[in-house]
Structures are given as structure tokens and as C-alpha cells.
Amino acid sequence: MAKEKEPKQPTVPFGAWAPAVGLAWLIPGGGHLLLKRTGRGVLLMLAITGMFLCGLMMRGAMFQPQSGDILTILINTGGFIGDVASGILYLLSSWLGYAQPDVAGHVHDYGTKFLVTAGLLNILAMVDAFEIASGRKD
């Protein structure tokens, strides 16, 4: 039996969602604030910025892409993408000279994870801002 084709969602013009997604990357929660979702934007901003600052105060290490075996490439490139996804938080801390070496210790280790996870959570916030801007979500 032939499957019914699912109706295609209309393509949303680039200009409709790009400012919100761009701002959501640069300032965590900024995309929601631009789209007048103030409460959610403030919550996202507090949670993501709080997580990133805790990572900094735990002296977590920032990842840099490295070559080598496949696991090294995956871990460092993935970690770097996670760090960069925090937007202005990552850019500011890099420009201000934050360069913590990767040292042993559970607090440093948690700090590194906090920094990467803040970026990954910001990616979720960017996707949410995209869905709101494109009308797929209220």
C-alpha cells in the first residue's frame, strides 16, 4: 500500500529567522528576547550564562581543535564547537585572555564540562528561537 506523503512545511525566508538565531547565538536568550518571549529569554540567559560563569570559576579548560587520532579529533573539535556555541561569553573570555591549561582535579574537570554544556544548551535555545521565528512554535 502506498504511503501518503506528509505535507511539506513551507520554507521560511532566511530574513525571518536569521536575526533571532544569530542573536540567540551571540547572547544566550537574546533570540527569545528579540521575539518578545521575555520570561523564557531571561530564564535561558540566566541558566546558560550561570553555567558558563560557574565553568570559568571552576577553572575549566577551553578546547582547541587538534589533529591526531580520530578520538582526539572528535573530542577536541566537538568540545571547541560546544565552547564557541556560547557566543559572546566565549568570545569575551578568549579576548580577555582566559587560557586555563587542562589540569587534573574533579573541579577543573567539572568546569570544562560546564563550559561545553553551556554552549550545547545554547544550541538548543537557538533551535527553539528558530522554531518560534519560523512559526512552528508559539
Binding site: H106, Y110, L124, A125
Partner: protein
């Protein structure tokens, strides 16, 4: 800069708190659902934290 010195437990609780807030905000559509899901996710993190903690304790011998 101020340095935080947290135990494993405190750091994991803080991680659970921030992550639960973001997951609740981006996945649910009403404030009531967001609150429920945030509390549920946080509780799941805490249960997993204790479960894995005991598992490692017994696994370590």
C-alpha cells in the same frame, strides 16, 4: 577571579539545575508543562546521581 571549590555532589546538582531549566524552557509549550518537566528532569538527574554513586561504590568493592 573568584574560584569555586565544589564537591562532586554540589557540582552535579548545579549541573542538573541549569540543564533542567533549559530543557524545560525549550521542550514544552505551556508554563505549567515547563514547570512540571523542569522538576521531573531535575528529579531524574538526582535519582541517577544517587544510583550511579551507589553503583560505583559497590562496583569498587
Amino acid at each position: 577571579m573568584f574560584k569555586m571549590n565544589l564537591s562532586h555532589f554540589e557540582a552535579a546538582l548545579l549541573f542538573a539545575l541549569f540543564t533542567s531549566v533549559v530543557l524545560a524552557v525549550v521542550t514544552k509549550r505551556t508554563d505549567r508543562d515547563r514547570l512540571h518537566y523542569g522538576v521531573y528532569t531535575f528529579a531524574c538527574f538526582v535519582v541517577a546521581l544517587f544510583g550511579l554513586g551507589w553503583l560505583m561504590y559497590f562496583g569498587h568493592g
